[in-house]
């Protein structure tokens, strides 16, 4: 038996395998967009043929961070904003794991903004889902980095003077190789995008519009939206950087004008993932590092035989 026999196990995967059964019921509010992410994620799993034991899900803190309480895989609920660096290393340690990270807009664009940029820049082979509800949910409705300018909250009673962050454009500039926006109100598109993102060999960033009926009553995400791939109006090439940038600009501008444009925004299949690049320059072992600790025949070199010569 291999040390990690769950990985690449060949069998039919059922959606229900990702439901934790008698584990605790979701504490999300009725009507919360987070249910939409959970559902889409579970539906995507049979499509990509992943079984729960080979999936490692890393979340931050916030309502969104509860995702892995309701998703039956290996899970790591980390700290506010830090899911990505934890996830990155797990992927490097065992590249055969299916690594998914998730968190809120405060988590990924605020406190963890630095990690979000750098993970995209390095193009780690993983999927990152940001639950974008334009608000801090768990701490009860403060302004978040994606809240619109002028948005009033308890901590910004006069309305925010800040323009919202533009996560899609930011991630394009940072170096993500798959970027999409989807919304909880369209489970089919969401499922397809998550499945594509998982299969993408590189950093896939999904800005997932979720509604927070409790704290963000005027969010626009309930309104019908346009799938940019299905609309003739937006005939553009997702693999063309300039066209993608233009599409993202439109998407990000119009969101705050009340029109929700979603879909794949950029797909670059040509750039090797970070792990691959590292392997090519000789900084990553061929075999997954984690396997070695379970391999009884592995040889563990000692510094005495290698490095001490230099000090003699």
């Amino acid at each position: 038996m291999s040390a990690f026999s769950a990985i690449n196990e060949e069998r039919e995967i059922e959606r229900d395998e990702f439901t934790p059964g008698i584990e605790p019921q979701a504490t999300w509010c009725p009507g919360c967009g987070d249910f939409g992410v959970l559902k889409a994620l579970k539906q995507a799993m049979p499509e990509v043929g992943k079984n729960p034991d080979e999936v490692a899900l890393f979340t931050g803190i916030g309502c969104s961070g509860k995702l892995n309480s309701y998703f039956n895989s290996y899970g790591f609920h980390t700290i506010h904003g830090r899911s990505l660096p934890v996830a990155r290393a797990a992927k490097l340690a065992n590249p055969n794991l299916e690594v998914i990270a998730a968190g809120g807009d405060g988590d990924g664009y605020g406190i963890g903004g630095n990690h979000t940029i750098h993970t995209a820049r390095e193009n780690h082979d993983m999927t990152y889902i940001v639950f974008n509800n334009e608000i801090f949910g768990l701490t009860k409705g403060q302004t978040s980095p994606t809240s619109p300018k002028g948005h009033k909250s308890k901590t910004q009673p006069h309305g925010s003077a800040k323009s919202p962050i533009r996560p899609l454009s930011q991630q394009l500039n940072a170096g993500a190789t798959y970027i999409a926006r989807t919304a909880a109100v369209n489970p089919n598109q969401a499922k397809e995008i998550i499945a594509e993102a998982i299969e993408h060999d590189g950093f896939a960033h999904i800005d997932f519009l979720t509604q927070c009926p409790t704290w963000n009553k005027d969010a626009k995400h309930y309104v019908p939206y346009t799938d940019v791939q299905q609309s003739d109006e937006f005939d553009f090439d997702v693999s063309d950087r300039a066209e993608a940038a233009e599409m993202m600009r439109k998407t990000e501008e119009r969101l705050y004008e009340g029109e929700v444009l979603t879909g794949r925004m950029y797909v670059d299949d040509s750039r090797p993932s970070y792990g691959e690049e590292k392997r090519q320059i000789g900084e990553m072992p061929e075999e997954p590092l984690a396997e070695r600790y379970f391999d009884e025949d592995a040889e563990w070199e000692r510094t005495y035989d290698n490095l001490l010569e230099h000090h003699k």
Binding site: M1, S2, A3, F4, S5, A6, I7, E9, P20, G21, E23, P24, D53, E54, A56, K66, N68, S69, N72, S73, Y74, G75, F76, H77, T78, I79, R82, P85, V86, R88, A89, A90, L92, A93, N94, N96, L97, N114, H115, I117, H118, K278, G282, E283, P285, L289, A290, R292, Y293, F294, W300, E301, R302, T303, Y304, N306, L307, L308, H311, K312
Partner: protein, 632 residues
């Protein structure tokens, strides 16, 4: 007076190759059979600024810098600032020559590069009078000129070595061997020529002095290395194959060494965006089943506080290295201090549990880093190795056999897939990762790693139940909290049984004691020997386990003395505070000798400090502070 030890100081500008030259000098002396110890002083500047390294050589083992030095090789600062800045910085070119004049011993030798330092300037610093007063033997030589003759003036270092050898009557064989080993072609030839020419030129000067370079011979093969080398090698030998970091002096050294070597050993190194990420990556790698390490210095370690707590709560093993420098804030980047102890012990929220080891020398840097990994992975707890800028950079020779140890790749309490099948599972199918009462009666609930069949669990920084789900149930809370904290008792018992990290020095019975931790240990031990020679009755205890604290050992030792002086490099007596807190008494027995000016103690200072403390006299030296006993 004849000195039967050599303390050779090479001084120049930062960037002048002072460091590498001193390393070669030390290695050559080690090859000749002597024991060596280096002490390094450098400013927080990239190029220029007074820097020096001392190499102390004796026939017996050396574990400390000495008091001052008896041979100065002053090369001048070739990167000195422009003259306009002189008013502010002083004449930097000259600093290598006259800074710390006071520390040059009577009868010492002062060899300087007159090719770089012009005579007028040298007059200005009053060298002649000082030399007369102290019976110094001043030897100006055109070292730069000799180097230039064979090509490049940068080789004046080699000229300095050649001249040193002639003046001290040391054979040049070992230096030649080193040049041949490190260089090839024209460079090798040029350096050999410079070495010989300088040797010849200095021999003709016939300098007569009182330094007697001892002779020695080793009965075992030796290696010379730094604390950072030893920590890195300990980690690698203990199966660490993942490091993540962000540069910060002096931690950068370990990070660099690990980054250079891990790929050769099949491991991975990651330089990341900040220290929060660095610690988080180590956690992620460990979660996935790899032995991992990260680290930083004060400010960077502050950023690691939150991931450190996460490691405790999720019981994910990691090893962090904290390399201290003088604080608060960015403090003095290149100066040692022992003032991050409380930071390392108490940072992070909640009743947190971690293991902290403070190796006292290069030997312990290796063994205790290995202990840190073993404990972290066996007990699923973060372990921190705390050391300082002094041990980080100082070189010392040790028998090579010290490193001739078996590797240990065991990731500790991780189950195999077969074992997971037999382990307890929740009725939802989830693996019971955090049992209240593990089956073997220990406090360690075995873990699985992602990708293993049927090992699914949730790791979370929130309080959680046995299958990892977030829980605020009061009974569960108490059970989990107790189990996590109780590990510390188990670790204490394990350490007591298997690996005492504490070091006793001096006679078994003595009236007085000196208690010390970390890098000042060797210096204290040397001072204790001198005090006993001076007729005092003193012994010392060096403590390396900061947490869990070796309460019994230290209590017994404190019971055995009338009074104890606690020596440490900080202003607030942090280690003494820890000892008193852990033992709950002896506040009336312990006084403190503190130094926090950026320079480590010299043995003579501890002798002085001790003598004035028992005489109840004020400390004469203004660079130290005495803090009397405070009661219980």
């Amino acid at each position: 007076m004849t000195d039967n030890e050599l303390i050779w100081r090479i001084a120049g500008g930062s960037g002048d190759g002072i460091d590498s030259t001193s390393q070669n000098f030390a290695k050559a002396l080690m090859w000749s059979g002597l024991n060596v110890f280096t002490h390094r002083h450098y400013p927080s500047r990239i190029r220029g600024g007074h820097t020096y390294v001392e190499v102390r050589a004796k026939d017996e083992p050396v574990q400390s810098r000495g008091d001052g030095y008896n041979f100065l090789l002053a090369l001048g600062d070739s990167f000195a600032r422009n003259p306009q800045e002189e008013a502010y910085y002083g004449k930097e070119e000259l600093k290598p020559l006259y800074e710390n004049f006071d520390d040059l011993r009577e009868g010492g030798v002062l060899l300087y590069d007159e090719g770089l330092l012009d005579d007028e300037d040298v007059d200005e610093i009053g060298l002649e009078e000082a030399a007369e007063e102290n019976n110094w033997h001043v030897v100006p030589m055109d070292l730069r000129g000799i180097a230039k003759e064979h090509g490049r003036e940068i080789m004046r270092n080699t000229a300095g070595i050649g001249a040193t050898a002639a003046i001290l009557d040391i054979s040049t064989d070992e230096f030649e061997k080193l040049i041949k080993q490190n260089m090839s072609g024209d460079m090798q030839e040029a350096n050999l020529n410079v070495l010989h020419d300088a040797y010849e030129a200095a021999s003709e000067l016939d300098v007569d002095h009182d330094i007697e370079v001892p002779e020695g011979s080793h009965d075992e093969e030796q290696v010379i290395l730094s604390g950072s080398n030893a920590i890195s090698y300990g980690a690698i030998d203990e199966g660490c194959r993942f490091i993540s970091g962000y540069p910060m002096t002096p931690w950068t050294d370990v990070f660099t060494i690990m980054s250079q070597h891990l790929p050769e050993f099949g491991g991975i190194s990651e330089q990341v965006e900040d220290e929060i990420a660095a610690a988080a990556l180590a956690l992620g790698a460990s979660h996935a089943g790899v032995k991992a390490m990260s680290g930083s210095s004060g400010g960077g370690f502050a950023l690691m506080s939150e991931p450190l707590g996460l490691a405790e709560m999720t019981e994910t093993p990691i090893v962090l290295v904290e390399a201290m420098r003088a604080g608060p804030s960015t403090g003095m980047p290149t100066k040692p201090e022992q003032a991050d102890l409380e930071h390392v012990l108490y940072t992070s929220q909640g009743d947190s549990a971690r293991v902290v080891f403070a190796p006292a020398n290069i030997r312990e840097c290796y063994t205790q880093t290995r202990s840190a990994f073993r404990i972290a992975y066996e007990y699923q707890i973060p372990a921190i190795v705390i050391y300082d800028q002094k041990i980080q950079g100082e070189l010392r020779n040790l028998p090579a056999s010290h490193f001739d140890e078996e590797p240990n790749a065991d990731p500790g309490s991780v189950l195999t897939e077969e074992e997971i099948q037999d382990a307890a599972h929740h009725s939802s199918g989830k693996f019971q990762r955090f049992l209240h009462e593990p089956e073997d009666g220990s406090n360690v609930s075995p873990r699985s790693v992602p990708g293993q069949k049927d090992g699914r669990f949730l790791a979370t920084g929130n309080e959680h139940n046995p299958s990892g789900h977030i829980s605020e149930d009061p009974e569960n809370r108490v059970a989990q909290m107790n189990r996590r904290l109780n590990k510390l008792d188990d670790i204490r018992a394990d350490l007591d049984e298997n690996t005492s990290h504490q070091t006793y020095h001096g006679p078994d019975e003595a009236d007085y004691g000196i208690l010390v931790w970390g890098s000042q240990q060797g210096t204290v031990f040397e001072a204790v020997d001198r005090l006993n020679e001076n007729g005092h009755s003193v012994k010392a205890l060096g403590v390396s386990d900061m947490a869990p604290y070796p309460k019994e050992e230290v209590s017994e030792w404190l019971e055995s003395v009338d009074e104890a002086l606690v020596v440490e490099m900080n202003a607030t007596a942090q280690f003494r505070g820890l000892t008193q807190k852990e033992l709950g008494k002896y506040g009336d027995k312990m006084s403190s000798l503190l130094k926090y000016n950026g320079n480590p103690f010299e043995p003579a200072e501890i002798v002085d400090g001790f003598e004035s403390s028992i005489d109840g006299e004020e400390l004469a030296a203004s660079n130290m502070k005495y803090l009397p006993a405070a009661g219980d």
